[in-house]
């Protein structure tokens, strides 16, 4: 526990020395975050390997139950991605952000505070501490999103984020108030059996789902997410997508761990929301041209996959089926870790592209694979993993959820396992299409504009964190058995099922074996191909046309066109298609966008309506002192009448 607190302090202080130092402030911050990472990982891994956790308490009666912070398996598990990504992001920031923009020391300070809030949040076991850390995280993240507030787009994204996160917090206040009333204490504690089926239980579930759903980016509460992730500096986007969203999942995991007997429909709701977020998230991603917005929609998709796993586990818990429960929860939790690794990797490499070319527009990029080989390799590993393809880590977590869903098929006429199976299969296929599009448009083919042609490889300090994350993706994918004991301990926190059974799954060893065989085969075939004599400098054989240029290339939009058109009933794409007429048509322009329907059609109008409603109230508050005195007098009169009556 001491180590954990030290990690917290080191993270919080990481940006402070930089405020006075004229040079090397960034390196100091990275060093302190690295220290925090080592200490925190040490503490977390000790807990996850079966050691005793610890709790931190201040002995004052006014705070109610004593435990303020507890490092239990759940906290330790969620702390790992926080610490890893925080360090990788800060290191990356040295090359990405330092020395180019004016507000660097402030950014470092807030970054450190955000990490400290996250470290505090995962271990919080008291309502007040949790809400304080939650609010600190929200505000720090807002400040980071606004780092480039000279651009109108960034300011808009920041405000939408602020409104959304506070709406979510409002629900959380209600939820925690109800929780404290029900359990009679302000620390985290299990709910009494039988409560979940009552009205109070239902209200708690709904409020927590709304509050945490806003943070996690669950559909349809996701609308703040794509603009905020696109506008933030890339290492902050990595931290937001990889870790911040997961805090919503952490909240749900904590809540589910308190409920001994969730009703069957809770699992159903989670599965339905997961399927919705997963399918629509990836469908919207297909329609994007902005690389970082595309990645942001994929975060929504992956939150959907995590919710599918949580729903499956909850169904298993309700039905008293330990296998389904363990596999569902373990799959969801592992996907939390996996997603933060590969999504962090993807955002960092997208940032490297932005750094090198100055644009996030897929239609203006292309051909970067030859100019930025390491970055393109990193992005490929991230895409590979996020599509859930073997032998990387995304496959392992999806495999666990698949396995649980297949096992669930045997239980009578439950429809949900099939929903999970079908959603996962479709999400997988669509994600594959989307990442083929993104990788192809950015790194393959010819550069579409000068922006891509002049690109140079990112500096080493940016490549190093990407390499670390890529290796982590590979390690979990090839040797999943390594993480299973720890995962089992975390899954046990969610219910009394046998988490230890995870390590006994025969398939995990076989997956490693197949992964190794795959690698070996690929190596052999590669060797067979590789000593190729190059036959001179030749163009692409474009069916006989020997001078293909970048304007003839298939663009990202045309690649996704078939799917976007097939899904237009869900996506509502806005297409600007000019009429081409005459023998010699003039230069013209075709555009298609997929705007976010929730933001444009629901959230923004309702926000405008709220502002209008608030303007009505202003009539009562005209600023004239006599009127206010009149209000006081009237109030007193009313009170007097009420008291006498």
């Amino acid at each position: 526990m001491k180590l954990y607190l030290l990690a917290l302090l080191a993270a919080a202080a990481s940006g402070v020395p930089g405020l006075w130092m004229r040079r090397r402030g960034g390196e100091v911050a990275v060093g302190l975050l690295g220290l925090a990472g080592v200490l925190g990982l040490w503490a977390s891994l000790a807990v996850l390997s079966g050691g005793p956790g610890g709790s931190f308490a201040i002995r004052t009666a006014s705070l109610g139950t004593p435990g303020l912070l507890v490092v239990d398996p759940v906290a330790a598990f969620f702390a790992i991605p926080v610490l890893v990504l925080a360090f990788c992001g800060a290191l990356y920031g040295l090359g990405y952000w330092e020395g180019r923009r004016g507000n660097t020391p402030a950014l470092r300070l807030v970054y450190g505070l955000l990490v400290a809030c996250l470290v505090l949040l995962v271990a919080a076991s008291h309502i007040l501490v949790f809400l304080l850390a939650w609010e600190g995280m929200a505000i720090a993240a807002f400040l980071l999103v606004m780092a480039e507030d000279r651009e109108a787009e960034t300011r808009r994204a920041g405000w939408i984020y602020l409104v959304a996160t506070h709406t979510g917090t409002l629900f959380l206040f209600a939820a925690f108030a109800l929780l404290a009333r029900t359990t009679g204490q302000s620390g985290f504690a299990a709910l009494p059996a039988g409560l979940a089926a009552t009205g109070a239980g239902t209200a708690l579930f709904a409020l927590f789902l709304l509050g945490f759903g806003f943070k996690a980016g669950m559909l349809p509460l996701h609308f703040w997410l794509p603009p905020a992730h696109a506008a933030a500096p890339s290492h902050v986007s990595a931290l937001m997508s990889g870790v911040l969203l997961k805090m919503g999942i952490l909240g749900l995991v904590r809540f589910l761990s308190w409920v001994p007997d969730p009703p069957l429909w809770w699992g159903g709701v989670l599965v339905a929301l997961g399927a919705l977020s997963g399918l629509l998230g990836v469908a919207f991603a297909l329609g994007q041209h902005d690389l970082k917005r595309l990645l942001a929609y994929h975060s929504i998709e992956n939150i959907g996959i995590i919710l599918l796993g949580l729903g499956l586990g909850t169904l298993g818990k309700s039905l008293g089926n330990p296998v389904m429960q363990t596999l569902g929860y373990a799959g969801a939790l592992l996907h939390v870790l996996n997603h933060s690794l590969f999504k962090g990797l993807l955002f960092l490499s997208a940032g490297a592209v932005l750094h090198a070319t100055g644009t996030r527009d897929l239609e203006r990029l292309g051909g970067l694979g030859q100019r930025m080989p390491w970055t393109s390799g990193a992005f490929l590993v991230g895409s590979w993993a996020i599509c859930g393809l073997p032998p990387l880590n995304g496959f392992v977590s999806e495999w666990l959820i698949y396995l649980g869903a297949f096992r669930g098929l045997g239980l009578g006429r439950q429809a949900w396992p099939v929903v999970i199976l079908l959603s996962l299969a479709l999400i997988g296929a669509l994600a594959l299409a989307c990442f083929a599009k993104a990788f192809g448009a950015v790194f393959l083919g010819l550069p579409r504009t000068g922006a891509g042609a002049g690109a140079r490889e990112a500096p080493r300090v940016m490549l190093l964190p990407m390499g670390v994350l890529a290796l982590a993706c590979l390690a979990i994918g090839v040797a999943p058995l390594l993480v299973m004991p720890a995962l089992g301990r975390v899954a046990e926190a969610l219910g009394p099922a046998a988490g230890a059974g995870l390590s006994a799954l025969g398939g995990l060893g076989a997956i490693s074996g197949v992964a190794l065989a795959l690698g070996l085969l690929a190596l052999l075939l590669w060797r067979w191909l590789r000593p190729v004599p190059q036959a001179g400098d030749l163009p692409t054989w474009d069916c006989g046309y020997a001078a293909p240029d970048a304007r003839m290339e298939y663009t990202a939009s045309s690649f996704a066109d078939g799917l976007v058109r097939g899904l237009r009933w869900a996506l509502w794409p806005v297409v600007h298609r000019p009429r081409v007429s005459g023998w010699f048509p003039r230069l013209t322009r075709y555009e298609s966008h997929v705007p976010d329907p929730v933001l444009d059609r629901a959230a923004a109008p309702s926000l405008r309506l709220t502002v209008k409603g608030a303007a009505l109230l202003r009539v009562a508050q005209g600023g004239a002192l006599p009127v206010y005195l009149l209000y006081v007098l009237l109030t007193l009169l009313v009170l007097l009448v009420w008291m006498v009556a």
Partner: protein
């Protein structure tokens, strides 16, 4: 010890040899059938072996646009296909590698092959190859649910998650062929034709690049990389074929009878594909999704029948 392991070793050996040597025969059989149906003599059945031998000795040509990703397609396609072939039983003989949940790995290995093939097509920067890649990504998104619904129905029927036991559908040959299995196989035949780029989804022999799917993605490959592409495609014919054939095969007592039945059925499948190709034209590109949705519906109904 050795004596008791011997049958397993022999089986595995035969499995491996089948995977390595047999696949190029299948496209030859299909082509021969089509030629005979059209009243031509056609190329020899072993034509693809000759082609592969020749390509292996040829020099490859690379466009200046391409990177190493261009080679990842052929390499990944064959490596993933070979890895997947270890998981599937050839008829009623055990698969070399079998574990609970291998069916998911099997499906995702083909996903991996598709991903890398699409990327290597995009690496050339050719508009035609981009077109083919986009079509491949679009259509496979529809084939995937059909495959998984079929798996779900089989898992429900056999209470197992391993291809070895799932495909060994319970019951004798006469009692097995009821509604669910027929529907699953019907749906999977559609998937089979689509995944292997056969008529009516795609025409491997067409000469119009604008209408092709799979063939257009490999236009720029030559020499050894192209040999891998061709071998990978024939491997897919074999491995996915085993998926369809196994549930439909009679169960024999001796291993050699099972192998014989499998080889005969495989030949029959190739001839059947040839007959389909001779008797119908390919669909218009806009009709292909409807065809694939029919596959999803068939397997979906199979699953519903398993529930009642």
């Amino acid at each position: 010890m050795v004596r008791s392991l011997l049958p397993t070793i022999l089986q595995t050996l035969l499995h491996g040899l089948t995977v390595l040597l047999l696949p190029p025969l299948l496209p030859g059989l299909i082509a021969k059938t089509k030629a005979l149906m059209a009243g031509r003599q056609g190329p020899p059945v072993l034509q693809l072996y000759y082609d592969l031998a020749k390509l292996a000795r040829k020099r490859a040509v690379f466009s200046r646009t391409t990177t190493w990703v261009f080679l990842a397609g052929p390499v990944g396609g064959v490596a993933a296909g070979l890895a997947a072939s270890c998981l599937v039983p050839f008829g009623h003989t055990p698969a070399p590698v079998s574990f609970e949940g291998d069916v998911i790995l099997f499906a995702y290995l083909f996903g991996l092959a598709r991903f890398l093939t699409i990327l290597s097509a995009l690496d050339t920067g050719s508009s035609f190859e981009g077109m083919g890649a986009a079509r491949e990504a679009t259509f496979s998104a529809l084939a995937e649910p059909a495959l998984f619904l079929g798996f779900a129905a089989l898992a429900k029927a056999t209470s197992s998650l391993s291809l070895g036991t799932m495909l060994a559908f319970p019951g004798s040959l006469a009692t097995r062929f009821t509604g669910p299995l027929i529907l699953i196989l019907a749906g999977w035949v559609i998937v089979y034709l689509a995944e292997n780029s056969r008529i009516p989804v795609d025409d491997p022999n067409t000469h119009l690049e604008l209408t092709m799917i799979h063939e257009v993605m490999v236009l720029d490959h030559s020499g050894r990389p192209f040999a891998l592409v061709l071998y990978g495609a024939s491997l897919k014919l074999l491995v996915l074929g085993a998926l369809i054939l196994t549930p439909a095969l009679p169960r024999a007592t001796h291993a050699w009878q099972n192998w014989l039945a499998f080889y005969l059925a495989l030949g029959g499948l190739a001839v059947a594909v040839g007959l389909v190709e001779s008797s119908m034209a390919r669909f218009r590109m806009t009709k292909v999704p409807q065809f694939l949705v029919a596959g999803v519906l068939a397997t979906g109904f199979a699953f519903l029948l398993m529930l009642v």
